[in-house]
């Protein structure tokens, strides 16, 4: 269980979010909607343990990052908006940076687990600078998921992706969810919010719950209106 309780975040002494509270149970997907600069990425950084909240607590299975950083790090995977890949190296070299597994174990995990939905095992020896945007995004996801985190944080996962890549990633997220994984996604993309169990709007430093947003989108609600209001 991931629990945020009265979290406040500051950037250079300026409060950018306050009183953020929500819970995410195993298997749940949470969507964070907000304009650029609304604090979505900063909130994800805090959940990842990279940025300490100014107030409030973030607990994963009852423990904060400060209680046991190593255990917390191994339980949370963060897929950043920009990829964290090293362009000159191959997919395999990039994967080896983030996991203690051997090459054989990495290949086995990518081919014979839910990660096979990403298809990364088919281009392991390709250098990153020869990959398409979709291949890079799938590899980014694989570098995080190779360590089997319980919580997956994704910042704009669909940015600049083609339809096939989006579909592959959604397929994988379904598998991750059915395996009991918690996903927190920050995005502008309507497709993502159709997929989320709960969604929250980040606006003017406050966080508002958006109940049944997925159904509303399916019924034709334009989410850009929510941002304009």
């Amino acid at each position: 269980m991931l629990s945020l309780s009265h979290v406040a975040l500051k950037y250079r002494k300026k409060t950018i979010l306050q009183d953020v509270s929500f819970d995410a149970a195993p298997g749940q997907t949470i969507g964070l909607l907000g304009m650029n600069g609304s604090g979505k990425s900063t909130l994800l950084l805090s959940i990842a343990g990279v940025k300490k909240p100014a107030e409030g607590t973030i607990l994963l299975d009852g423990k904060s990052y400060a209680d046991d950083p190593r255990s917390y790090n191994s339980s949370v995977g963060f897929v950043t908006q920009e990829n964290a890949l090293i362009d000159e190296l191959t997919a395999m070299d990039n994967l080896r940076l983030w996991t203690p597994m051997s090459k054989a174990e990495i290949f086995d995990t990518l081919q014979n687990t839910a990660l096979s939905a990403l298809g990364v095992h088919t281009y392991l020896e390709l250098p990153v600078n020869s990959m398409s945007g979709g291949m890079k995004k799938r590899l980014s996801l694989a570098t995080v998921l190779i360590n089997k985190p319980h919580v997956l944080l994704m910042d704009e996962p669909f940015a600049a992706l083609d339809l096939v890549a989006k579909k592959d990633i959604l397929n994988f997220l379904s598998l991750f969810r059915s395996g009991g994984g918690i996903t927190v996604i920050a995005s502008h993309d309507e497709k993502i919010f159709e997929f989320c169990d709960e969604s929250y709007l980040l606006k003017d430093g406050a966080v508002t719950h958006l109940p049944q947003l997925a159904e509303k989108i399916k019924n034709g609600t334009d989410i850009s209106e929510l941002l304009r209001r």
Partner: protein, 368 residues
Amino acid sequence: MNLKQLQRTIFTDLRRAVRQLPATAVYTLIFLLVSLIVIKNGEKLFFNPNQTAQVPVGLHMQMDDADDEAGFALVEEMQSFRETLQIKRFATEDEGLKALADGEITALILIPDDFVNGIYANENKPIRIVFKENNTMEEHIVNDLLLNSAQLLGTAQAVEFTLRQVNEELSVDPDETDAFVKQINANDLTYVLTREGLFDPENYDNLSHLPLSKQLAACYTLLVLSLLSFLLTPFYQGRKTAYVIRQRAAGLNRFGIRISELISTIFLLYFAYVIIFTSLMIAGFGAKWTSLLWMIPISAVIGLFIHVLAYTVKSSAYANLVILIGIVLLMYISGGLVPMELLPRFLQKLSSFNPVYGLIRLLQGIMY
């Protein structure tokens, strides 16, 4: 800090560095080729062989007997001395030192009392040469001339000649003179006089006596290694914010990331030095083998500098500008691009405040 993540990051950065090796080799060889042309032709480029001037030099020696007078007259008449040095005699050492301090002379040669008799007695009395505090072109001329005089002309032969001349004037039996000469040879006088340390220079930077080509080879090595930052600065500035965030989420802070990058920089710089070392060897300016060992800490210092530059300067274009203007200028006033002795005196004085000057001197000492 997560040490296992640090270890994985170091290996990954080294893999990345290995992929930079071909580009590093090409950069190094291009810079080196240009440098070698200058090193090979340095003497012709920097010095005009047709221009000569006499250097005022003081001399103090006891003139107790005819032997001393004749010896001095002989030295003064040597063509190489006559063309290059204007010798002023001083009755006392203090007078000579005062003239040196006043700038009347460039160097003071102090021949110890009883020098000639000392030679016969197989005593090693060094000739002191006192230079002014600052290195100048003239001091090089004096020092080189004296060293070469000792080695090439052989003071032994001068003494032998003097002895024959004096004995002739004194109507000494030629057979007796021959016996003296034999005694001199028996004492291996030539060896005694050409041994290292016959001259004992004071206030003279002993690295400067390196041949110009070797001085320049050391300087250009530093220049080539510094210019590698053209290649390495973008290498680090290519780091994405996302990468840093991921590393922090994996338990590795910025310090750890930089340690790992510094290790791969040292690896690349050292690789570049191996190319430089091999090329210099082929070109006939071979450095000492021990320099291969010493270059590891030197690479660390240069790597640290490149690293600081990569992280403090906003873009690689600015970084390259800083290198071109800053480093090349610092190297110029360190005698790194042209010999220090050719620089104006006020720039020579600035060298003591210039860290690059120290680095060049260190590199010269390590390589030669």
